[in-house]
Amino acid sequence: MDKTILLGHGSGGKMTSDLINSVFVKYFDNDILQKKTDSALLNIETKCIAFTTDSYVVDPVFFPGGDIGKLAVCGTVNDLAVSGAKPLYLSAGFIIEEGFALNQLEEICMSIKTEATKANVFIVTGDTKVVKRGQCDKIFINTSGIGIIDPGYVDISEGKNIKTADKLIVNGFIGDHSIAVMGARENIQFETEILSDVAPLNGLIQDVLNAGHKIKFMRDLTRGGLATVLAEIVENNDFGIVVNEVDIPIRESVKGLCEIFGYDPLYLANEGKVLFVVEGDHAENILQVIQQNKYGTDARIIGEVTSENISMAILKSVIGGKRIIDKLAGEQLPRIC
């Protein structure tokens, strides 16, 4: 009989400690976790700490190119990295629906381990709750993360130094994650499989920062997609943005699916994409640095900061027309006619 998660696994008693030892400690093993203290004790020598949290409820739990575990590590690592921080430690909290297969939990923990190793971070504390069938959908994960940040980079997350003639760079194809997850959810068969782009970007970002170029702003292009981030950058600011639709990297397959379902790829969520706003003169050099990293081979300069169109993000469409890009409001809805 397949082993499954039972309510008792969240009781705090023997079944819980068995689960912790046989799964979580086994996969996430490190000196801090081994001490099994109520709180992880961390020796961090820095003036400034970056701290973030995110919850993961993706449906389905496993999708082409990743799973909820991979997502839970990369999402939080990327939130730290785009703030200019070096991610160090993560927590992992699990809410599991009674009846969830133990081997699937192990598979998820294996992914967490693999991604944490890639991103060079440690899972140092965690929690498990089991809820009755129907009270959550299979498994939800929360991860929080701590990173250290160089004082020279503290302005990046607010984009305080963005100015006219700065350039915008995106590190590759947008929209893959949303389409991969939606394809898995709706059971759509693609001619060529579209994989989620979920990836830890701290290495790529570190490469860029280490190269010593002026980075004004970074943001990962998750929910709301590229369009929402562009609209946020210009909001209440005394500059505008112009991006060229032809320069935005989008896979043909993703474009095709967007045509069918009526999605605008600019609003699709990504899990391995970051928008850089950089000093205009440095843009070409930075682009080269990004393209040398495996998560940036398809990077492109997509637009620039302008003194015109104050507080507006403008898209120059493929046919040369202009339109405003605004934030995503609610979910993207499929068209009906």
């Binding site: 045509e259 009526g262 469409s317 046919i319 040369g320 027309g321 339109r323 405003i324 609610g330 009906i336």
Partner: protein
């Protein structure tokens, strides 16, 4: 994308734009009837390419936008019954009813499911034999055939727990009604998908009666600009008629098979259009011999009093006589997150397109 990129070709677009600029002399108003065109025009920034002589306005061709508030109230009332599952196209669930929306009812526990086709709806009915499945049938000639097919399928497979709450409408009467109301329109960009099913002949009478230029258009920028060019030429030369730009999909007689299926299941009735009121023979009712699949007849529910939102000018926007930013609520109270009128909900609604892209 093969067969799509050709219709977004910048050089071709430029040729058409130049032609339009050189031909257009009279100040004219062109209405795009279909919501798909509205979206495309905004998405590609087509307004910014046209000369000032051409005023492009959006019409009543977004099925969600013209759907009566009472229909939403009716769907909400049905969704409150524990034995009913509602299946609907996604756009409808956020449209406000008089006091609630399907989205709110869903959050409160009603079983409301978003589907992409009627096939999904009949499958849900099959998988839940102890429940009643009500599909919310909205849309024009484009979506009606799939509703008709679903009823035929339900009948042949004795799927007696399937029914449709029908608000399907037909396009030409609304196009006439706008002109009858005295709204000044020189030409219509005719709906592409509607005409793929219904054909272009259905507009001949309107073109002749009102001396209107009508060009059935595809949805890509080159399609739309070519259609505008054809319309401008017709109007400048005083040769108004129905013409097809979207020849790769539309035939004068339409899709005869689809039309036959629709005719088998539905019959014309007078119908209420948001903003336009009652238009004779503009809606479709399920024929009496299929009344077992008509949710309106199958379930008796008490409807709350319909309350129309104050200050919302969706009606005038659907007629093309006012623009979204003429509305006091636009961007302030009415946003895609908190839509007051249906035009703000649907991705094809004029207010939504205007909000997103302008």
């Amino acid at each position: 994308m093969k067969y799509i990129d050709e219709f977004r070709d910048k050089a071709l677009v430029q040729i058409l734009v130049n032609k339009i600029h050189s031909v257009s002399k009279k100040h004219i108003t062109i209405m795009e009837v279909c919501g798909g065109h509205t979206m495309s025009i905004h998405k590609y920034g087509i307004h910014s390419l046209l000369p000032q002589t051409i005023n492009l306005v959006s019409g009543p061709g977004c099925p969600v936008c013209v759907t009566d508030r009472r229909f939403i109230d009716h769907a909400i009332a049905l969704s409150k019954r524990k034995d009913i599952i509602i299946a609907t196209y996604g756009d409808l669930i956020r449209v406000p009813g008089s006091t609630s929306s399907l989205e709110l009812q869903k959050a409160k526990g009603a079983d409301i499911r978003v589907v992409y086709s009627t096939l999904d709806a009949t499958k849900i009915a099959k998988d839940n034999p102890d429940k009643e499945l009500v599909f919310l049938g909205i849309g024009f000639e484009t979506t009606t055939p799939s509703s008709a097919l679903a009823i035929i399928e339900a009948k042949t497979s004795n799927l007696n727990n399937f029914s449709i709450l029908c608000a399907h409408k037909v396009m030409p009467p609304a196009m006439s009604a706008l002109i009858d109301e005295g709204i000044k329109i020189d030409g219509y960009i005719g709906p592409g998908h509607v005409s793929t099913i219904a054909g272009s002949n259905i507009y001949s009478e309107i073109a002749e009666k009102y001396n209107l230029a009508i060009v059935i258009s595809g949805f890509e920028p080159v399609d739309i600009l070519q259609s505008v060019y054809m319309l401008v030429e017709q109007i400048e030369n005083a040769e108004q008629k129905t013409d097809i730009q979207y020849t790769r999909a539309v035939k004068p007689e339409g899709n005869l098979k689809a039309k036959a299926i629709v005719n088998e299941i539905f019959e014309l009735r007078d119908d209420w259009w948001r903003g336009l009121g009652v238009i004779p023979k503009s809606g479709l009712a399920i024929r009496d011999q299929y009344k077992g699949f008509d949710a309106e007849k199958k379930f008796k529910v008490i409807l709350e009093k319909t309350i129309e939102p104050k200050g919302c000018i969706c009606g005038d926007i659907l007629k093309g006589i006012r623009k979204p930013d003429d509305c006091k609520l636009f961007r302030k109270i009415c946003t895609p997150l908190n839509p007051v009128g249906a035009c703000m909900v649907s991705g094809e609604g004029a207010c939504n397109a205007f909000y997103k892209y302008k």
